[in-house]
Symmetry: D2
């Protein structure tokens, strides 16, 4: 069964991306994936710093998050855009997860062989699209296959209904489909050698 | 069986990327893919221009190339870097292939659902890496899944032996593996719905 | 006096970018710059190919265009977006202009020390914004200072009036300002050492 | 007199980028700029979060840093690369500096009209070059003119001498020149209207 880790790159209470990821996650569940939807607020970590890491090791919450990544084969990320790039919060979490605990560990084991779908929501007219350019490049460089399927919800402050769904049924369907596409692609791929070999 | 279209983004006689693509193509063949290795020199087309297209339609050689894309599920491209981006030749071929012949045609049918692996070679110290950033972004936006596996061969003017193989056995193995990875991923994926539905 | 070369990356008869560049060019002229507004249709060149160059040299029209670049200190470019990048036409012109005629020539002399403002127009909702990402990176790597001021006109098929101006007075003002900003920045900079030393 | 804020995107004790920025800063001082070389370690701030900001305002150290930006016209940044992008530390500092204290404040006042030069150092063979792609895009989108002059020092673990200078005199000269170029460009530009008008 496809195992997917899903989260938004925001901890804001009213975050549009936290709403969006729930829709995509439900799409993945409808396609029979096992989805681990987590909140980055539950994984507080200090800003990545190699001196800190050398002195105290990878922080416990960063190790927990990395473990989650190792246990899943798919990534579903909804990424807010700050200043045409991703949030420092998201960058920090991904950077900590990229660290090796021992010198024997295969580098980037948490990322290699993963398959991802990314999306964004923003009050602006571009919907956070420019941040995804940076996120896609970064994930690709970490060994993740990022599927081309994506969605950026513009005017996000007006896009969601009280029940959490998107007012535009076209958008709702498209975002639900993102989760399904990831689940189905993981099913088709089976477990990759890269992830088996870790 | 995995069907792969392979080509270099150069027509230069002594092109390093034309050498490189042959190595990757042989890796794909070893993994039992059916590889169609073509030369862009055999597909001359005018610089893309919508007035030209409106007047005379898509040029015959561009249609032939688009047909090749439609008949394959994988793309193996070795892309020279010109001024930190891809060659106008490669951009032109991909742009023509992105055009629809009729208004009924599904947009981007030649690209949607394809899986690609890209690589580069250059005499410089970066090996053409910056051009791949642009190529990856573009293919992703066209609906192609670009695998994270890649290789950029630096000092390409000294990298190849007389028999066409790479002097560095590590590089030779890595580029051969690129073809194999694409072939194996296509096998695992089976034919995608996107491409079946075209 | 500020000398500016202005052109659109399209030769299409009804091109939105050809309309847009005229507005920006008039803004530069209002700020007393000497603007050379040219049409790429007047500079036909074969697709860049190093074998062709080695055999016949840089084509005459490419040399003429390069000469225009050498005679100006500012670049004003309106760039259509094809498949989330720039047109092969524009890439080709810039690549030819980047070639050296002799081995004594300072590399990239046509670009180094130039200051540029870029913009785009497109019928889509992003206005060609993604192509500018690629163009800005490329120009920067060629030694051009690209000013942050920019504008991407979305829904370009409905944006222009019969007299060539933009229906939105806010857009019209913003694009006129782009030309003025470039002219004023060039005045403030004076001729750069890079360009004097060529 | 040109006023420049200089810092590295790292707080690591043995940071190569902290060494590199000192060289560039000295180049700017030789060209008679007033250089404010600061350590991000002296500006600790929580990870940017809009709920935190709404509840407690911009943190004191973020306001101090923003004030530094407002008092200078040039930015000299040496940016470590983490996973082909910039550090979460640097992203966080820039994101906090982009926030407005009041609704009357001109958006992005700390950035608009600034001129920047960026550089990087890394033990790897690319010298942190890929992180600069992201940094340049981001600064440009914030209204900063990023000069094309740049340098990425590869094999940074072996590049510096005990006295802090670069072992390669060519590199040492090039990085010193980066500071000088920024100082001279600021002199030529004078104070920009954008920054006067704030």
């Amino acid at each position: 069964m496809a195992r997917i880790l899903a989260f938004a790159g925001s901890t804001r209470e009213g975050s549009y991306n936290r709403k969006l990821i729930r829709i995509a996650a439900s799409g993945a569940r409808e396609a029979c994936a096992e989805v681990h939807l987590v909140e980055l607020a539950d994984y507080p970590m200090p800003i990545m710093n190699e001196d800190l890491e050398a002195g105290q090791g990878i922080p416990p919450k960063a190790l927990e998050f990395k473990q989650l990544m190792l246990e899943n084969d798919g990534l579903l990320i909804s990424a807010p855009e700050y200043n045409s790039s991703i949030t420092p919060l998201l960058k920090n979490v991904l950077d900590w997860a990229s660290r090796s605990e021992t010198s024997e560990e295969i580098p980037l084991s948490a990322f290699r062989g993963m398959t991802a779908v990314v999306m964004s929501a923003s009050p602006g007219s571009l919907g956070g699209l420019r941040g995804l350019v940076v996120l896609r490049m970064m994930l690709g460089n970490l060994g993740v296959t990022v599927l081309p399927d994506t969605r950026s919800i513009s005017s996000a402050d007006k896009a969601f209904q009280a029940d959490g769904s998107l007012a535009s049924s076209k958008d709702q369907k498209a975002v639900t489909r993102l989760g399904r596409i990831l689940a189905e692609t993981l099913e088709r791929l089976g477990r990759s050698n890269d992830r088996e070999d870790r």
